[in-house]
């Protein structure tokens, strides 16, 4: 087939695709959990699900309720768990609450098709034991259930769970599951109600841009960045194996306050450390009581450290409407109707934790012992968002720092890594820290209520990721398949179409970071250097629906 003919065919297919979308995009009435209760469309709260608009943010801030007159908005009245007058005789009665009139259940499913550029064949080399990478591939995504709402008395709840991932049943996991005590500031004299909320359970940290509810198919690279120190013996090695990444959820308690529709908002959270691979599913040690009192099969102990990671964030959002009334409203009053504010949001965040590594060693008296490196680490950064009507720009920067506790023997000399047992470690000293940095910027434009055009630039700078790839065929030892430079850049243009308010078609092209399978020795430094880099770009098409 000639190139011109190929282009003509592709153009025809795209045209047919667009026409089909247009034909399908008729009246849309989505019915996820809250839509059913309030008899309203997904687009009341979402720009492009799951991304929230200003009203959706206010709904969430209020504890999954309409900020005002919630009761009059409910089409399905809640079930009373006690008449309201019981509150007057408390503590002689249970404080009255409610449950939703119908189970507030939503379901979500997505599926994908991926095309991988021809450079995949540099990985599909004969003798490569890795999985074969096809040019095209169909893939089921995840099927998940989510439920959320309000129990009255400003107590909100949320649970979401991936029932299956990639077609494997029960292979998913619990996303978030929490109770949120909202507007506790009302109990504090002279303070606004929204000054304090408490959330307890398994939560996604209040990171500047949500990963769990992102509209992008591909994750933010910086949020997936674990800090694995240099293990390549050609370089100064680091004893860092910190699996923590912002993309995951944490178990703990969070104090928060403020509003996401204007002014300040903050979060202070204390979560189990989750840096040790293998501990995430719980320790079923038979000699310690578990949360459910069962030695085996009960809820285990999910962390192996007393220390709780501490996360804080602070944001301030400046709504920029000239009219004061509009500026202070949940949504701005545009000439043709309410819309998201024109605003500038700036924020900062910080996480301090300790990763844990254990190895067999000895005490100074040569008694055999398990040595534990409790390695302090922190992540810090800033974020900004500028929104002008239907155009939004987002940016995030992160710096990661792990202190790198190196094992030493009884003479104080460094124990060569990896620790093999030939030399017995007895303690740790600080080495040069393992650091990384990076972030992303993106632009998101909504030319029509059903069409989102986006582009994102991701960058991650990690010396250790680069160094770890510099071994012959070394991409198998690197978590990033052979990063060929210190900085991994990715540019991702994307377009999304809401076929209905609850059905979405997505196309995302990833100009992926350069990779390398070949290296040479730098004649000056004597160190390996990646050469002949290539990009394995991918086009991902997705179909997703919630109901």
């Amino acid at each position: 087939m000639s190139w011109l003919l190929f282009r003509a065919n592709v153009g025809l297919m795209l045209l047919i695709f667009m026409v089909l979308l247009a034909l399908m995009a008729q009246s849309s009435y989505a019915i996820p959990a809250f839509s059913r209760q309030y008899g309203t469309s997904c687009s009341t709260c979402h720009i492009d699900f799951p991304k929230l608009n200003d009203f959706g943010k206010a709904f969430k801030d209020a504890g999954f309720k309409f900020p005002k007159d919630d009761e009059s908005m409910l089409k399905i009245p809640p079930v009373m768990l006690g008449a309201p007058a019981n509150a007057e005789i408390w503590p002689k009665a249970i404080w009255p609450g409610t449950i939703p009139g119908i189970p507030p259940i939503g379901l979500r499913y997505n599926q994908y098709f991926q095309y991988t550029s021809a450079s995949r064949n540099q990985i599909n080399i004969p003798g490569n034991t890795g999985p074969y990478i096809p040019a095209t591939d169909f893939e089921t995504g995840f099927f998940s259930i989510f439920t959320g709402g309000n129990f009255g008395s400003d107590i909100a709840f949320w649970v979401d769970d991936d029932i299956s991932v990639s077609g494997a049943n029960a292979n998913g996991g619990l996303g978030e599951a929490y109770l949120k005590f909202v507007n506790l500031g009302r109990l504090i004299p002279k303070l606004p109600a929204h000054v304090l909320n408490v959330r307890v359970g398994q939560v996604e940290l209040e990171i500047p841009f949500t990963q769990a509810k992102s509209i992008w198919i591909s994750p933010y690279d910086i949020y997936s960045q674990a800090n694995i120190g240099v293990v390549n013996p050609a370089f100064n090695q680091q004893f860092v194996n910190n699996a923590f990444a912002f993309a995951g959820s944490g178990k703990g308690i969070e104090f928060s306050g403020g509003l996401h529709t204007g002014g300040y908002n903050y979060s202070v959270a204390f979560i189990d450390q989750t840096t040790t691979p293998g501990y995430a599913q719980g320790n079923t040690n038979a000699y310690v009581p578990t949360a459910t009192g069962s030695n085996q099969g009960g809820a285990g102990i999910a962390s192996d450290s007393n220390f709780k990671d501490i996360y804080t964030s602070f944001n301030y959002r400046f709504n920029l409407e000239k009219d004061k009334e509009s500026r202070n409203s949940i949504q701005a009053a545009g000439p043709s109707g309410p819309r998201d504010h024109t605003y500038l949001n700036v924020g900062t965040y910080w996480l301090y934790g300790r990763s844990v590594q254990r190895l067999t060693g000895a005490l100074l008296d040569e008694t055999s012992a398990t040595l534990t490196a409790r390695e302090p680490f922190y992540r810090v950064g800033g974020n900004a968002t500028f929104n002008y009507h239907n155009l939004q720009f987002n940016a995030l920067y992160m710096y990661g720092h792990d202190y790198n506790l190196l094992p030493v023997d009884s003479t104080g000399a460094l124990v060569p890594l990896p620790v093999t047992g030939a030399i017995t470690p007895v303690g740790f000293v600080h080495g040069s820290p393992a650091t990384f940095s990076g972030g992303f910027v993106d632009a998101e434009w909504l030319p029509y209520p059903w069409m989102y055009v986006m582009i994102r630039y991701d960058a991650v700078n990690s010396n250790s990721d680069y160094h770890n790839a510099l071994v012959p065929g070394g991409f198998t030892n690197s978590p990033f398949n052979g990063a060929s430079s210190v900085t991994r850049n990715r540019i991702t243009p994307a377009v999304q179409f809401l076929i209905h308010a609850n059905i979405k078609a997505t196309a995302e092209y990833q100009f992926r970071p350069s990779q390398s399978l070949q290296l040479i020795t730098n004649p000056i430094t004597g160190l390996p250097v990646a050469v002949n880099s290539f990009h394995t770009n991918t086009l991902v098409l997705g179909l997703e629906y919630v109901y």
Partner: protein, 191 residues
């Protein structure tokens, strides 16, 4: 005004009243259908002074269907504590007659005078599930059907008219009706 003129007006009025009849019938699919006498060539009618209310409460337009005579000023009200918008993309499919009334806070009313007859589909661009209709009749002779689909238009002068029936989601239907004291027209509307 002289006595003669007064007497003449009185006689004419009584005569007209004596000649006024009714148009009645049924409309299928029934409830919430509108029947009106279409424009009468060479005849105009003064605009009514009443200002009917179209409310937005509980994320719905209330009433869902409002029938008014052309020239009527309708007052749109937001009774919700959330922002609403009112717009109509067209009147009887004519996009040039589309209009956006904008946004206003709870409790306030915003008037609009409908000078073009036709069907006005009301929407809110914040809550796309919200839907309402205003049927602007070109004459004062209109009626809304009852729960059984029956209607009755009173005070229609004797004559021959085009009578239009409309129901949400159905194609409107026009029938020619002779009114001589009474006129009858049944409609079966299809989608």
């Amino acid at each position: 005004m002289s006595r003669f003129t007064l007497s003449a007006v009185l006689v004419l009025t009584l005569a007209t009243a004596a000649l006024a009849g009714t148009i009645a019938g049924t409309v299928s699919p029934g409830k919430s259908s509108v029947v009106y006498v279409d424009a009468i060539a060479g005849k105009t009618f003064p605009a009514p002074s009443q200002k009917p209310l179209m409310d937005q409460k509980g994320l719905v337009f209330n009433p869902h269907l409002l029938v008014v005579q052309v020239g009527t000023t309708v007052e749109f009200q937001n009774s919700d504590n959330v922002q609403h918008n009112v717009f109509w993309p067209s009147i009887s499919g004519n996009k040039k007659d589309g209009h956006n009334l904008g946004t206003w806070p709870k409790g306030e009313k915003r008037p609009f005078t409908f000078s073009t007859p036709g069907v006005v589909p009301l929407l809110c661009n914040v809550h796309p599930e919200m839907s309402g209709y205003i049927v602007v009749s070109p004459t004062p002779y209109f009626a809304e059907t009852d729960a059984s689909g029956n209607y009755k238009i009173d005070n229609v002068p004797d004559g021959k008219y085009n009578v239009v029936a409309w129901h949400e989601g159905s194609k409107p239907q026009t029938k020619s009706v002779d009114v001589s004291g009474t006129g009858k027209a049944d409609f079966t509307l299809s989608k």
